[in-house]
């Protein structure tokens, strides 16, 4: 794999990890103060006289002042309501929101198993990109969510043959279903299946005219992975996620029977092109999915 891919991977990983840590901090503070309820309680004005010692917890929640400042407070200190009221924006909880839709940019890496398939690729590992759209349809059980949708994948490779360059361009359209388990608000393992069709175009260049062929084949994939996410909140209605996914993708075998373009004009002796070989089959894949939840 190219170094830049590793670099992108690392940088991408850092974002959600940092996000996850940022989410952990308020949760730890809240748990340190007991249940979230007292924090809400502290934000409410008290009708009883407030002593210096009893007001300390409230101020500590609000601004966390040093205890010495409380001992040096005047005997009739002004009410602290204003201070607590000023912190109301922080104190109001930013609860995770339920989101139903998911749109994602998918970076996919596929390893070509058949050495013959390298006719159309200079590298054994080929990369492509695509889009994934999902909608939650049902909660199968607590924390188990089923989503369905569609995806589009584009893959383009270049190789070499006797006379020059070869190329393969494929577009895959598939319906997909994803089953996610909400282990935590930021960590969601999942499994995915997809089925659809793949349109491929093959070209053997370097000759004039060049040889080319196109074909359709059924497509399917099975994969599993883990998603790291920052869920949508009241303050940010869109959630972000990053998924790592691995599995197998398979496409039906297509017989690549190349023909020279423009050689089938009227009056020309019927011309057959060479049958180059079979493309398709089962390949392992690895995907990085950058998603938006809304």
């Amino acid at each position: 794999m190219k170094i830049w891919k590793v670099g992108v991977l690392i940088s991408v990983l850092q974002i959600p990890v940092a996000t996850a840590q940022a989410q952990e901090q308020p949760e730890e503070n809240a748990s340190g103060a007991g249940a979230p309820a007292p924090a809400v309680e502290a934000s409410e004005p008290s009708s009883e006289p407030v002593s210096a010692s009893s007001s300390a917890p409230a101020t500590s929640v609000a601004e966390n002042p040093a205890p010495s400042s409380a001992t040096q407070a005047p005997l009739n200190p002004p009410p602290q309501y204003s201070t607590v009221a000023n912190a109301s924006a922080v104190a109001v909880p930013d609860l995770p929101r339920k989101t139903r839709y998911f749109a994602a940019l998918v970076m996919q890496n596929t390893r070509l198993q058949d050495r013959g398939a390298q006719l159309f690729s200079n590298e054994q590992d080929v990369s492509g990109a695509g889009l994934l759209l999902l909608a939650q349809v049902r909660e199968l059980a607590p924390k188990w969510m089923l989503s369905v949708g569609g995806e589009w994948q584009h893959l383009q490779t270049e190789g070499a043959w006797t006379f020059g360059e070869t190329s393969m361009r494929s577009n895959t359209l598939a319906a997909t279903a994803v089953l996610r388990y909400e282990h935590a608000s930021w960590l969601r393992p999942f499994a995915r299946v997809a089925a659809g069709g793949r349109s491929s175009h093959y070209k053997l260049g370097g000759l004039d005219p060049s040889f080319s062929d196109s074909g359709w084949a059924p497509f399917g994939s099975v994969s599993a992975g883990v998603g790291i996410m920052r869920a949508a909140r009241d303050s940010m209605p869109v959630g972000f996620s990053f998924d790592l996914e691995g599995g197998l993708a398979g496409a039906g075998e297509v017989s690549v029977k190349a023909s020279a373009r423009g050689s089938q004009k009227d009056g020309i002796i019927a011309v057959s092109g060479p049958t180059v070989g079979e493309q398709g089959g089962l390949t392992p894949m690895f995907r990085l999915v950058f998603g938006l939840h809304f």
Binding site: I10, L13, E123, G159, T162, F163, F211, S272, V276
Partner: protein
């Protein structure tokens, strides 16, 4: 715990990414991409893909071209149809010589190999070779194959740092399983340049084949009788090296043409003594014909490993600069026995000018006869003439260097009748000739758009004019019709492929979408439609199959891109080994 989990996840991902290795690209080579010129085999067209070492064999079952690839060694440098197969004495196959590969980055080393590739796509026969030879020379009957280095040196593509230019390999294709006989010829400061095979010669112990190797200044006689008692052929006798000039002669004579008089055993009925085999050499830069008489060594003097014959050299003066020669028999009545005849060998030599020389080889008598034109080629046949129904040796002398005349020569008693046996005719300047001696005709090519058909019996000349220029004439194996290949496109963009009937000179033509370079008439079962294959020039490999009888375009079918047939599978077989 969560950080640990994330760390493991990142580490695992990076590990998985770095574990994936780069693939390999197809091997690239310095040789021209694609297939070379088509080779016409009796039952298929063969295309050799030099860059990766594949032979593509094309036939046309049911009229649709089909290509099958046969893998041979890396870097094939020369190939040809098997002469024995063309002559119909062996299964249809082609010969290919590969120089292999030397070790390099991403390239596995491979030794030189010689291949017999059956035309039906069956498993080829492989001979492993100790040297990276780059030339094939096959005997006319197809039995022997000589592998040698080209006079210009080893292959520029792949060669070892050291090679022995005088080393050759001899293969006897009639001995299945026999390994090549490797031999380093004795040299006199030169290398083998040409090889000439004899017909079976009447040696003292019976018929035997001889190989004459021509070098600058000398020839080498190699006895092709081997000890074939085991898989490896072993030469029974050492070779004989014969200098063609004296040590103080500044000329470096080289045999340019070699003829063999096979000799004859003694005939008691005519009191004719044994006639020893003789090798006649026409050498460059020499006005003489050199005769090497192969005299048997007395049985009591034969040494094991040495030869049982001894060449004795004599020079036959001709004058001028001999350009061609033919050997023919002449029957003479036996003195005192008029009903019996004895065969005397004669040599007819064209001196490159306007004279011909007749050499009586039994008496060394020489006679020069003038002609009315210059000539540098002699065509010999046996047949009748307008004045004589009896079949006798006759010759046609013509020039390929201009001139508008040719001369028929009746060789019987030429020394007696001299110019009275010469019949000049008008003949436009000749580019090339295609003799069909069984049919008694000769096709003569003039320029690039005209043919003449010369009837040898009636000595009539018929012309065939072509609207378009063409390259050459082909006569497919086992066929009587001729095909004119290499025609340019007409004003409709079609490429004519004319067919000529040599008997009645009727013509027909196919009109193709690309130039015809080579043709094969495919064998057909009795009563079945016969298809022909036409190869078109181009590195991608392009053929058209059409009905050989009707030449109909409607039923024709082409295959373009032979080089890419099964490319994916072949690519996976020739990619470098699992070095990754």
């Amino acid at each position: 715990m969560k950080r640990l989990l994330l760390g493991l996840l990142v580490s695992g991902t990076l590990f998985a990414c770095t574990e994936w290795k780069e693939g390999r690209t197809p091997p690239t080579s310095e040789v021209p991409a694609g297939v070379g010129d088509a080779v016409a085999l009796p039952s298929a067209l063969a295309f050799v893909e030099k860059s990766v070492g594949f032979v593509h064999l094309v036939d046309a079952p049911a009229g649709v071209p089909r290509s099958r690839a046969v893998q041979i060694g890396r870097n094939p440098v020369t190939w040809q149809a098997d002469r024995a197969a063309v002559a119909g004495t062996a299964t249809d196959r082609m010969l290919a010589l590969c120089v292999g590969e030397i070790d390099g980055p991403d390239v596995d080393a491979e030794g030189a190999t010689f291949w017999l590739v059956p035309a039906n796509g069956a498993q080829p026969t492989k001979y492993e070779l100790p040297s990276r030879w780059n030339r094939i020379t096959q005997s006319p009957n197809g039995r022997y194959v000589i592998l040698s280095f080209s006079p210009s040196g080893p292959s520029r593509l792949v060669s070892d740092s050291v090679f022995s230019p005088n080393q050759i390999a001899v293969l006897d294709l009639n001995t299945p399983g026999a390994k090549p006989m490797i031999r380093t010829l004795r040299a006199l400061n030169d290398i083998p340049r040409d090889f000439f095979f004899s017909q079976p010669l009447n040696m003292a112990d019976g018929l035997r084949d001889l190989l004459v190797v021509a070098s600058d200044g000398y020839v080498t006689l190699v006895d092709l009788k081997f000890d074939g008692s085991d898989a490896a052929l072993r030469p029974l006798r050492s070779e004989i090296t014969v200098p063609l000039s004296l040590a103080d002669d500044p000329r470096r004579l080289r045999a340019a043409q070699v003829l063999f008089d096979p000799g004859a055993p003694a005939d008691p009925t005519t009191m004719t003594p044994r006639r020893d085999p003789v090798v006649y050499l026409r050498a460059t830069e020499s006005s003489d014909i050199i005769a090497l008489s192969l005299t048997p060594v007395p049985a009591s003097e034969i040494v094991a490993g040495k030869n049982d014959f001894l060449p004795s050299l004599s020079q036959l003066a001709v004058g001028g600069n001999p350009q061609d020669m033919v050997l023919y028999p002449e029957s003479e009545p036996v003195v005192g026995q008029p009903d019996k005849k004895v065969v005397r060998m004669r040599l007819l030599v064209s001196d490159g000018g306007s004279n011909i020389a007749v050499l009586h080889l039994d008496s060394s008598r020489s006679l020069s006869i003038p002609m009315v034109h210059i000539a540098n080629r002699i065509l010999l046949w046996e047949g009748p003439s307008p004045d004589e129904a009896e079949s006798r040796p006759r010759a046609l002398l013509f020039s390929t260097r201009g001139g508008a005349k040719a001369t028929f020569v009746d060789l019987n008693r030429l020394s007696d009748f001299k110019t009275r046996n010469l019949r000049p005719i008008d003949l436009a300047p000749v580019n090339d000739v295609l003799p069909l001696l069984n049919s008694g005709i000769v096709f003569v090519k003039h320029g690039d758009s005209r043919l003449s058909v010369l009837n040898l019996a009636t000595r009539t000349l018929s012309g065939l004019n072509f609207a378009l220029s063409f390259q050459s004439i082909r006569r497919p194996t086992g066929q009587s019709d001729l095909w004119v290949v290499g025609s340019e496109a007409d004003n409709k963009g079609r490429y004519p492929l004319p067919r000529l009937n040599p008997v009645n000179l009727s013509t027909a033509e196919a009109r193709l979408d690309a130039m015809a370079a080579e043709i094969v008439i495919l064998p057909a079962a009795p009563g079945a439609k016969q298809w022909m294959l036409v190869a078109h020039p181009g590195p991608e490999g392009y053929v058209t199959a059409l009905d050989a009888a009707t030449l109909d375009r409607e039923t024709a079918h082409s295959l373009q891109g032979i080089v890419a047939v099964d490319l994916q599978d072949r690519l996976s077989r020739v990619l470098p080994g699992d070095k990754q």
